[in-house]
Amino acid sequence: MSALTELSLAEMKAGLAARQFSAVELTQAHLDQMAASRHLNAFIVETPELALAQAKAVDDGTRGGPLAGIPLGIKDLFATEGVQTTAASRILEGFVPRYESGVTANLLRDGAVFLGKLNMDEFAMGSSNETSAFGRVINPWKAKGSDAELVPGGSSGGSAAAVAARLVAGATGTDTGGSIRQPAAFVGIAGIKPTYGRASRWGTIAFASSLDQAGPMARTVTDCAHLLTSMCGFDPRDSTSLDLPVPDFAAGLTGNLKGKRVGIPAEYRLDGMDAEIAALWDAGIAWLKDAGAEIVPVSLPHTKYALPTYYIVAPAEASSNLARYDGVRYGLRVTPPGGNVQDMYAATRAAGFGREVKRRIMIGTYVLSAGFYDAYYTQAQKVRALIARDFEQAFERCDVLLTPTAPSPAFAFGAKADPIAMYLNDVFTVPASLAGLPAMSVPAGLSASGLPLGLQIIGRPLDEMGVLDAGLAIERAAGFTARP
C-alpha cells in the first residue's frame, strides 16, 4: 500500500480511473503515512473519518469529478464547514466554521478527499512556520551529514512538508508575499500563485486583502495544473474575483517554449548573492534556452523597494482585517475581572495573538494613523504602482521572467530571530505579489548541503498557462528526483 503514496496526483487519477486501486485504498495509504509522520507537525487537525467517508462515496459512485478520490491537505486558513479552522492562531482555537470557503468548495465539488487542516505561520505571517500557535512544522529534509531540524518555509509550511513527505498528493496554499513559492522551494516541490482574482478569497481568512491569493502545491507541475483548474473560478461573493473562464491548465500544458522570450531581471542579481543560487539561476537560463526560448535581459528598477513597500501595505491591511478578532463573535475571549468591553477587547487580543502578529498589527496601525498616513501608506501605494509598471514594461519585451525563488535553501530554527532578516527571505517573491502576477516555484536542484532549491517563473496577468509551460520545461530539464 505504501507505494500508492509515491504516485503523482496525475498517476493517482489514472490509477483510480483504471480501477487499479480504490479511493479508500488510496486514502488509507495516505492516512497511514500521516500517522507515521506526526513528528513533522504538519497537521493541526486530522480528519481520517471524514476522509474515508469522502473516499467511500467516490468508490460508491455517489461522488465524482476531475479530482475524484485525490487525497489533499487544506491549509488552516481556509474555512472548512464542521472542521476547526484557526489560521494557526490561539485567537481562533475552537472555531468551527458553518460554511465552506470558495476554494475548498470547488475542490469538494470536483471529488477531492480532505485529510485534514495543515499547520502554517499564524495568520500566514511568517516565512519559517515558527509563528504557529500549534508548534513549528519540521522540514522533512535534512542537510547532508547533519541531524539539525530545518524550517519548511512559510507561511504554507505545513502544506509544503505534507506534500514533500507524501502525506498528501497535493495541498492548498495561500500566497501574500511568497507563502506558496518559498516553502515549495524549501521542500523540493512545485507551487503556483495564480493572478490576483483567479481564486476566490471568500471564506479564506484574510491577511492582506489586496495581495492574498490561494494556489496549489504539489510534487509536479502537471499536478499543480490539475489542482489550479479546480481551485480557480468566478465567485460573486468575492468582490475582486475575476469573472473569466478558467482554462483546463493540465490539458493545455505542453512545456514548449519555442518562440517564447524569457526575461532575466538584472536587479534580482543581488550583491553578495549566494554562489549556488546564482549558478542554479544560470542553469535555469540555459535549460530554457535549450527548450527553444529566447533569453532577454530586462530591468525592474524598483525591485529594491518591494520589500519595504510590502511591509507597509500588508501590515496596514492586516491591522484592519484582524480588527474583527475582538472576543465577541468567535474564538477566544478574555475578560479581566471587573473589566469593561474595551478591556475585554485588549485582553483578548493580547492573549490571542502571537508576537509577530501583534508586531504587524501595530506597524499597520502606526502607518495608518493620523499624521503618518501619507508619508507611509500613500507613498507605499505609489511605489507599488511603480513596481507594477516595471513589470508591465518588462513584459513588453518578454513573455515570462525567470528568477530564483529564495535567496537560500531551508535554514535552521531560530536562525532569523531579527524580524527584518526574516522579511528579506521574501526578496524575490514579494514583487510579483505586489503586482498581482501569476508566479510559480519549481524544484530545480540541490545545494552543496543537499537541500532543495527552486526557480521562480513570473508571468503576465492571466497567463498561468505560460508560467506552467515554462515550469514544465524547467522540471523536465532539471530532472529533480531527489527526495527527503
Partner: protein, 95 residues
C-alpha cells in the same frame, strides 16, 4: 522619525492590544527597527504617480440591491464565546 515608549502605548491602545510595561521597551526597539528600514521608501520620486490600491483595473462590480442571505442566526451565533437569547453577549457597557 523615532517611535517613543509613549507612541508604542498609543498605538497599542488604538490597536486594542493590551501591553504590559515590561513589553514596551522591546516593542519600541522592534518598531523603530522596522520603521527605520521602511523609511527608505521616502527616497523614491513618486511625483505624479497615482497610488495603487488594487491590482484590479476598473471599478468593483455592482449587484442587485436585494437580500441574498439571512435566516441563519443560529449559525452566526454558533461560535460566539457568549450568546444569549439570539444575541452576542458582552460585558456591561457603561458610558
Amino acid at each position: 522619525m523615532s517611535v517613543t515608549a509613549d507612541t508604542v502605548r498609543k498605538i497599542a491602545r488604538l490597536a486594542r492590544i493590551a501591553v504590559t510595561d515590561d513589553e514596551v521597551p522591546g516593542l519600541t526597539e522592534q518598531l523603530n527597527g522596522i520603521l527605520g528600514w521602511i523609511e527608505q521608501l521616502g527616497e523614491v520620486d513618486t511625483t505624479g504617480v497615482a497610488p495603487m490600491a488594487s491590482v484590479m483595473p476598473g471599478q468593483l462590480r455592482w449587484r442587485e440591491d436585494v437580500v441574498t442571505d439571512g435566516g441563519i442566526a443560529e449559525k452566526v451565533l454558533a461560535n460566539a464565546p457568549d450568546a444569549a437569547s439570539g444575541f452576542f453577549a458582552v460585558p456591561k457597557v457603561i458610558e
